[in-house]
């Protein structure tokens, strides 16, 4: 009598400006089918990403942003992603705002944006239809889904793999995982600091995500921060891509990187981004109110802050 041991089939491809990786836990005699499933999942991800990117003028998102009308018909993928963006805005207590495209572009070009005294006054919503939904928005609102879309895509892609004992979809750092029954998945948290001799430092931490005793358990892991998309303004001040909706400028924060474990990748991404924007003092209170299961914040003084009970999540 020999118990079957699952093996992991993995497929990676350039995607969303980074790397998409699909991992499937499978019995050895189904490895070939798992490889096919992983490739098909990656293809679906590319399709969704192509609809939701702002870096392609023909994407569904770009067409919405370029439309002059206040009401614009959109297709189901964009409608679903925007519905999550609206929910993320509410769950992040307004910190995650998908309507800050102009503020972000201004920050990238070194322009000064005028602080928004009442960011909640700007309104938009998605009206559900059959195959076609409608976005209604105040004049001037343009959307940037960015990481909000990556977490959403990771979860949606993982949903395609429910027939397999376990699976993980790594959408360039935002990861949706269904851990097999009785199995531990280990996830490295990248350390953004420079290593020695051009090599990266060891992981900041290794997270341990356990499958249930009787069934698979689902998790999301995501990391946000200010050290990768970072540049210097003409006057020498540093800037980054995480915009504080209150100032419409790069957030002034002591958190250089935040990693969150949550029930889903999209929630983890939303919470991690909020924690970075808020700064460590406000973030700890927000994290305690949020759906975060675990969190690790790296501050600009090199210290690491985590939610209580982090030991249970570390390998």
């Amino acid at each position: 009598m020999t118990a079957a041991i699952h093996e992991i089939v993995a497929h990676s491809a350039p995607s969303m400006g980074g790397t998409l990786s699909v991992f499937i836990s499978t019995l050895p005699d189904e490895a070939a089918a798992a490889e096919v499933a992983a490739r098909r999942t990656a293809q679906r991800v590319e399709t969704w990403a192509a609809r939701l990117t702002r870096f392609n003028d023909t994407s569904h998102l770009s067409r919405l942003n370029s439309a002059a009308e206040a009401s614009v018909s959109i297709r189901p993928t964009l409608a679903a992603a925007l519905n999550w963006a609206k929910l993320a805005e509410r769950r992040s207590e307004g910190i995650v705002d998908s309507t800050l495209l102009d503020a972000r572009l201004a920050a990238e070009s070194g322009q000064e944006m005028t602080p928004d005294p009442s960011p909640d006054a700007r309104s938009w919503r998605v009206l559900a239809g059959g195959r076609t939904s409608t976005v209604r928005r105040d004049p001037g609102i343009r959307f940037d889904l960015d990481g909000t879309a990556k977490g959403w895509i990771a979860d949606r892609a993982a949903d395609l793999l429910v027939r397999w004992p376990g699976a993980a979809v790594d959408a360039d750092g935002d990861i949706s995982i269904r851990a097999d029954r009785g199995v531990e998945w280990l996830i490295d948290v990248a350390d953004p600091r420079l290593g020695v001799d051009g090599h990266g430092p060891p992981p900041l931490a290794t997270l341990k995500l356990r499958g249930g005793t009787s069934w698979a358990a689902s998790y999301g892991v995501a990391t946000s921060g200010t050290t990768v998309h970072r540049w210097q303004l003409a006057d020498g001040r540093p800037a980054h891509h995480l915009i504080d909706r209150r100032t419409r400028r790069p957030a002034h924060t002591d958190v250089v990187q935040g990693t969150v474990v949550a029930p889903t990748a999209r929630e983890a991404e939303m919470i991690a981004k909020s924690a970075v924007i808020l700064g460590s003092r406000e973030a700890l209170g927000f994290l305690a109110r949020s759906a975060a299961l675990a969190a690790i914040l790296l501050r600009d003084d090199g210290s690491v802050v985590s939610l209580p009970g982090i030991e249970a999540w570390l390998a």
Binding site: I8, A10, S12, G18, F55, I175, W185, D188
Partner: protein, 114 residues
Amino acid sequence: MRFVYGAGAVAAMSVMAVGLVQPDFAATADQSGSGNAGDTSTVAQVPPDVTVNHVTQYIHLKPGQKAPPGATVIAAAAPTPRVVVTHTSPGGPVAQPAPRPANPKPVTRQSGRP
């Protein structure tokens, strides 16, 4: 991975255990067989709480090693699979069950698109 259940070894150890903890038991039986009524007191002197410890020995077979004659070969319980991944590279990472520490694993990081 296989373990060998050593039946012969178990039998030998059982005998040794009986011999060690019940040295008077066989003598008592012999005396009973002699029909000596006075020996009942001897039987009563046998501690009532004597137990026999059956010792089971397992031998972990190495690759290519054969089990001794008469031994029963059983499969060990499968270890809990543990997915271990070390890094993700654009070239095509492959995650494997432990213990293969060189295999890649998901890495959560700040995303790549500027």
